[in-house]
């Protein structure tokens, strides 16, 4: 009879059912399709695998993808925080309009964004014309990739910070002011730590999105081997050459690195949050 008594009653009903449902859907939508990458790679054997993923061109593309996604995420963190701040803290005409604009990168086909950037920054484009005079090259450079990824990742940061910022009680800031803190000290010591988890979540999402981004980047990057080839493009070009196993191998490594980075970031966040709850 001990066997039945050890089963603890949960207050929220339906754990078994909902957990089963979650696992099933995660499997059907995420795990099973992604595992195909793994199963496509296995038949190729260890040595060809290592050979495929350590080719200098491939390694360069990994470096490029991760570094541009990283810088774009950092930039998004700052710009997104500022935008969320303005949208939450101030009232001004056209606020609704600006708020709606933030979501546009979500809705726009990324290729369209890519073409827009390419036109804008090309040596004959509005901005490209001026920038070229200052010797700043956006098109066909890593900078251009960062520009595209900033655009793609931006809404993630704004939309994760906004609700948290809205929740901050006015009294908290007033308390800090009464204790002698300047506006900057209040922001730095009270608000920023409060926003940090959301900021981390938002930029992690932007970062993850940046690693996988394809459509907008290829129009602006110029895709020069060893210089401006991103990892997703490597996969596409291998597929174009009917090298399915090679494409899977590159994809698998990309997947593993991304996954472990997301795992670490999530762990950091968990640890950050734990104490205050």
């Amino acid at each position: 009879m001990g066997l039945f008594q050890t089963k603890r009653r949960n207050i929220l009903p339906g754990f078994g059912l909902s957990m089963g449902y979650t696992v099933f859907y995660l499997s059907a939508i995420v795990i099973v399709p992604l595992s195909m990458i793994f199963f496509n790679t296995v038949p190729m054997g260890w040595e060809p695998f290592v050979h495929a993923v350590t080719a200098p061109r491939v390694l360069a593309s990994y470096r490029l993808s991760f570094s541009t996604a990283f810088f774009a995420a950092v930039f998004d963190a700052a710009a997104g925080l500022l935008t969320a701040w303005v949208l939450v803290r101030y009232r001004f005409p056209g606020k609704q309009f600006l708020d709606a604009l933030v979501d546009l990168p979500f809705a726009l086909p990324t290729a369209v964004a890519g073409i827009c950037f390419a036109t804008l920054y090309s040596p004959m484009g509005w901005l490209g014309e001026t920038l070229i005079k200052w010797n700043i090259e956006i098109i066909n450079s890593a900078t251009g990739i960062v520009v595209a990824l900033v655009f793609i990742g931006f809404p993630f940061v704004v939309r994760t910070i906004q609700p948290v910022l809205e929740e901050v009680e006015q009294e908290i800031e007033e308390a800090a002011h009464c204790l002698g803190a300047t506006r900057w000290q209040t922001f730095r010591k009270i608000l920023l730590p409060h926003l940090f988890p959301a900021l981390l979540t938002g930029s992690t999402l932007a970062f993850a999105r940046g690693i996988g981004e394809y459509g907008s980047v290829i129009f602006i990057a110029g895709n020069l081997p060893m210089k401006t080839e991103i990892a997703p493009l490597m996969i596409m070009s291998k597929l174009d050459q009917f090298d399915y196993a090679g494409a899977s191998a590159v994809a698998l490594v990309l997947l593993l690195i991304s996954f472990s980075m997301l795992l670490v970031l999530n762990a950091v966040q968990e640890w950050q949050q734990k104490e205050y709850r």
């Binding site: 009294e171 308390a175 009464c178 205050y276």
Partner: protein
């Protein structure tokens, strides 16, 4: 003089929150701003702290005009109704905050900060909680930390905005007595805002009753309670029975009865009046002891702890009368619902004027 307010006026769109208020608070005094919600008392407190700017008037703290100073330069301790603790900082860090944000030249050393925080934690009896986060504390504990945090910067003035109203009754009482004791130890000029007359009466050196942006009366708790200047103050300071009647020829009508009018109304011309009696000033007896006694029937008996509340139908009165009698008397008289008793009204307070409950 601790705090001197001169002709403070504050208007919000559509209404006047504070109407030409002048008030002085002596150094080391514990003053209560008492009034119903929306009377402007919190606005006044926020103006003193610099969290709001007055439309007119001056705020002088310890002989220095601070009207236009930002809150961080006022050196005022503010305790909020909902604590407003910094969630991501420990109790220690919360209290140390005000010291750590000082400019480098004025900032105490690490060791000094530690000593000061530890001293304050002892003062508020929270020394065991240094490393806790606010979410791990109860409401009463949080408010004590908030108080220690406000005291850390050695404020000239301590302002408390309904500090106990978010706590449950028992804790509220405990904390009230504890605050009184603390104030007797540290003597910092303090103003606290409350809508709870018991809290004001028990805690304050002086009470200022505020209504609709104006001061109705100020004085010691005793003065205010025993000699309310008008119907509003009388009514706000406790439970009341109201009898609407008229003043005429030096008498006040009270239902079918008449009582002598108070001195100031002896020669008043005929006008409507309101007579007030507090429930605990009503005598209940089985025997008629004077002509003026009313005859009443007990409609309802309420158990209120040490007191018993009676709701009576009195002969010739339109409304029922509430009385509160000691439990002992209730038992001795063997009272029960439906009994007929004699009711005497003591310390009847008569006001004329516009204020109508």
């Amino acid at each position: 003089m601790g705090i001197e307010l001169q002709n403070i006026t504050k208007k919000f769109t559509g209404y006047t929150a504070l109407d030409n208020i002048s008030l002085s608070v002596a150094s080391g005094e514990l003053l209560a701003l008492l009034g119903p919600s929306g009377c402007g008392k919190t606005t006044l407190l926020r103006i003193i702290a610099g969290l709001e700017l007055p439309d007119q008037g001056k705020i002088i703290l310890e002989n220095k005009d601070t009207t236009n100073l930002p809150p961080r330069k006022k050196n005022v301790g503010f305790v909020f109704q909902h604590y407003a603790l910094f969630r991501r900082l420990t109790v220690f860090e919360n209290i140390a905050f005000g010291l750590k944000v000082l400019p480098r030249k004025e900032r105490p050393s690490r060791a000094e900060i530690r000593d000061r925080v530890e001293h304050l934690l002892k003062l508020v009896q929270m020394d065991w909680a240094q490393k806790r986060y606010p979410s791990q504390l109860s409401g009463g504990q949080r408010q004590r930390v908030a108080l220690a945090r406000a005291l850390a910067v050695n404020p000239k003035v301590l302002l408390l905005d309904e500090p106990f109203s978010a706590l449950d009754a028992k804790v509220r009482q405990e904390l009230r007595r504890w605050l009184r004791k603390l104030h007797d130890e540290i003597h910092v000029t303090s103003i606290f805002v409350t809508h709870d007359q018991e809290e004001a009466l028990e805690l304050a050196d002086r009470i200022v009753v505020v209504n609709k942006g104006k001061i109705e009366q100020q004085g010691t708790p005793q003065e205010v309670y025993d000699h309310p200047v008008n119907a509003f103050v009388y009514n706000f300071l406790g439970n009341v029975n109201v009898f609407h009647g008229r003043v005429k020829n030096g008498k006040v009508s009270l239902g079918p009865h008449h009582v002598d009018a108070p001195d100031e109304l002896k020669h008043a011309e005929e006008k409507p009046s309101q007579a007030f009696v507090r429930p605990h000033e009503i005598g209940i007896s089985r025997i008629r002891s004077s002509e003026a006694d009313l005859t009443g029937t007990i409609r309802e008996v309420r158990l209120m702890g040490g007191l018993i509340g009676l709701n009576l139908d009195c002969e010739g009165f339109e409304h029922t009368v509430d009385a509160e009698i000691p439990r002992e008397l209730y038992i001795n008289l063997e009272l029960a619902k439906g009994d007929t008793v004699f009711v005497s009204l003591n310390r009847v307070k008569v006001f004329t004027g516009d204020y109508v409950i």
